[in-house]
């Protein structure tokens, strides 16, 4: 799992403050820049993080479509399911 590693979680959490370059993240952590890059690559592959060029640098940011999308979908799914459940409980036949 992409977020199972504590250092990787730290990297992800740094991005909650806004888009950051590798160097800026590494400066706040007791790990090397290559290590941060590696963690970012895993997070990017997992769809949690995106990156874009900003001048000569590359900045990373939390991809809002990753985790957030899952939650939006499930939220709607359970609305639909519970509404169908309610109809069945109230209008359905005898329960043996």
């Amino acid at each position: 799992m992409a977020l199972a590693d504590p250092t990787r979680r730290r990297v992800f959490e740094e991005l909650r403050r806004g888009p950051r370059s590798v160097g800026k993240i590494a400066a706040r952590m007791p790990v090397s820049r290559p290590a941060v890059s590696q963690h970012l690559a895993v997070l990017k592959k997992a769809g949690l993080v995106g990156d874009r060029a900003l001048g000569t640098r590359r900045v990373y940011y939390i991809d809002p479509k990753g985790l957030a999308a899952i939650r939006i979908w499930l939220d709607q799914f359970w609305d639909e399911a519970l509404s169908a459940f309610q109809s069945e409980v109230e209008e359905g036949g005898v329960v043996e």
Binding site: M1, A2, L3, R9, F12, E13, K45, A46, G47, L48, K65, G66, L67, A68, A69, I70, R71, I72, W73, L74, D75, Q76, F77, W78, D79, E80, A81, L82, S83, A84, F85, Q86, S87, E88, V89, E90, G92, V95
Partner: protein, 158 residues
């Protein structure tokens, strides 16, 4: 620690606690949204085996079946905890365990409040990228998500 907020829902039904529990579990086939079956054939049954450790699975018209998860806690008529093991690619994944806790609270002799919490959604995190690439599958998460996005946006325009 990274977390996404659990999905929390509640609904009040005109039924006693025991009936609410039975319909939720033993009669799940009658209300489970059929459009969300992960089977290739139409959904015929949705089964929750009535015990801790019991399987939670779907059976299609053609007899094929697919597991959704399993029963973590079975405490009729007031509480049920299910493991939801469907990943965002809409496939059963035995390594993924998210929890769906359902409490049935008797508000009166014939009214029950059902509280549902689907939690540990962050465990789906590293499946999300693949999910977004699944749009070309007719049963894929991406397509379903897209239709919901359209629905949400239509709602917010009214």
């Amino acid at each position: 620690m990274i977390k996404i907020a659990p999905v929390r829902k509640q609904i009040t039904v005109k039924a006693d606690q025991s009936r609410a529990f039975v319909v939720f579990t033993a009669k799940m086939s009658r209300w489970w949204p059929a459009t969300h079956s992960i089977l290739k054939s139409p959904l015929k049954e949705c089964i929750v085996e009535p015990r801790a450790g019991g399987r939670w699975y779907s059976v299609g018209e053609d007899g094929s079946s697919c597991q959704t998860g399993y029963v973590i806690e079975w405490r009729p008529p007031e509480r049920l905890v299910l493991a939801w093991q469907i990943n965002p690619q809409w496939q059963y994944d035995p390594e993924l365990v998210t929890e769906v806790e359902v409490n049935f609270i008797a508000e009166s002799a014939d009214t029950t409040r059902v509280e549902l919490e689907h939690r540990y959604l962050e465990r789906m995190g590293d499946k999300a990228a693949d999910a977004r690439n699944a749009v070309d599958s007719p049963r894929g998460w991406g397509l379903i998500l897209e239709s919901f996005r359209v629905a949400v946006e239509e709602q917010s325009q009214t």
